[in-house]
Subunit: 162 residues, 2 copies
DNA sequence: CTTTAAAATGTAATATTATAACATTTCATT
DNA sequence: AATGAAATGTTATAATATTACATTTTAAAG
């Protein structure tokens, strides 16, 4: 399984095993704390999402998952995604119908997802100030803000040259 | 056709005929300027989107459109939506797979869409500062920003009470 | 006024994304 | 061991969107 990881594909050079391990450890912690069950299926789905930093579609994930269970059905993936999203371990990229693992699920965060249109890598950076700004703006318009969809499309540093 | 408009449904009280007329006039102007063809079908689709300020799905739109042409197919709607979105007359709300008419298509604008989770009304307010902030932030992360998906979910003023 | 080529539309089929409904199994607790 | 809630299995289907190719409409040229 680990030999599928292709470090050339991820944003910047880094030991990607650490990302996966960290994400899985955080997942354990979060579930322990909330008394939720990180079952085998859920862990496998999370692991697959973590295999690179690209946004991954549910059916793409299903194909990958079928190496664990050839008979897996869409609903299995969607159920796991729902579970993982509910507890903040996975984010949905609405503009792509795709999913990424959150790399900072252990702490509360208000972030923008930067999505490279070329390589599809997606990563989060803090945008707390932006949230505050927008919430304030919307309140001025007598709107009661609840949650924000914030996705910035562009080119990552690796894809800008040429 | 006009007697379908229900002003109780729209954000605040206003003469909704003006919204439709304005949107259609702007559409004419934009197409004239860009030498594009605002065909009957495209105008009808835009008109239907304008009939209220709610986000409307493509198939919902198709149902409405079938009062013009009972044999209309999904692709007709999607083609018109693509055309209207390309020239900024319509925006897609990614988090809802739904569409709204832009009320300020005549001028360049950087806005956030405020979406009421209760009544589904959606309207835009200016967010130029937020764009600049985010673009600057992302550049610091060596990301080249291109376009932003910015959708704020919450409750509109009419839906906050009780 | 024809010819022509591009744009728009018609038509059918299909791809992609996501959920509903109900049966069965697993698991923690009693 | 009994119990009930949570998770999973299984089947079907809903909802959203696109592809491919035929035909018609339109604007512009000759
Ligand atoms: Zn996150
Ligand atoms: Zn890239
Ligand atoms: Zn707009
Ligand atoms: Zn409302």
């Amino acid at each position: 399984m680990t030999d599928k990881i292709d470090n050339k594909l991820v944003q910047g050079k880094h030991n990607h095993h650490r990302c996966i391990d960290h994400a899985l450890q955080v997942a354990e912690q979060v579930c322990l704390k909330k008394k939720l069950r990180l079952t085998k299926i859920r862990r496998q789905v999370l692991q697959l999402i973590c295999e690179n930093h690209k946004a991954v579609g549910a059916y793409e994930l299903l194909d990958l998952f079928r190496e664990f269970d050839p008979n897996a059905k869409p609903v299995t993936i969607y159920r796991s995604l729902d579970f993982l999203m509910d507890i903040g371990l996975v984010h949905k990229i609405e503009s792509q119908n795709a999913f990424i693992a959150c790399l900072q699920a252990e702490k509360q965060h208000k972030s923008v997802i930067l999505i490279c249109g070329q390589c599809k890598n997606a990563f989060e950076i803090d945008a707390t100030a932006v949230y505050e700004n927008l919430f304030a703006l919307s309140k001025q318009a007598q709107f009661e803000p609840q949650y924000l969809t914030l996705e910035l499309h562009g080119l990552c540093v690796n894809c800008q040259k040429v």
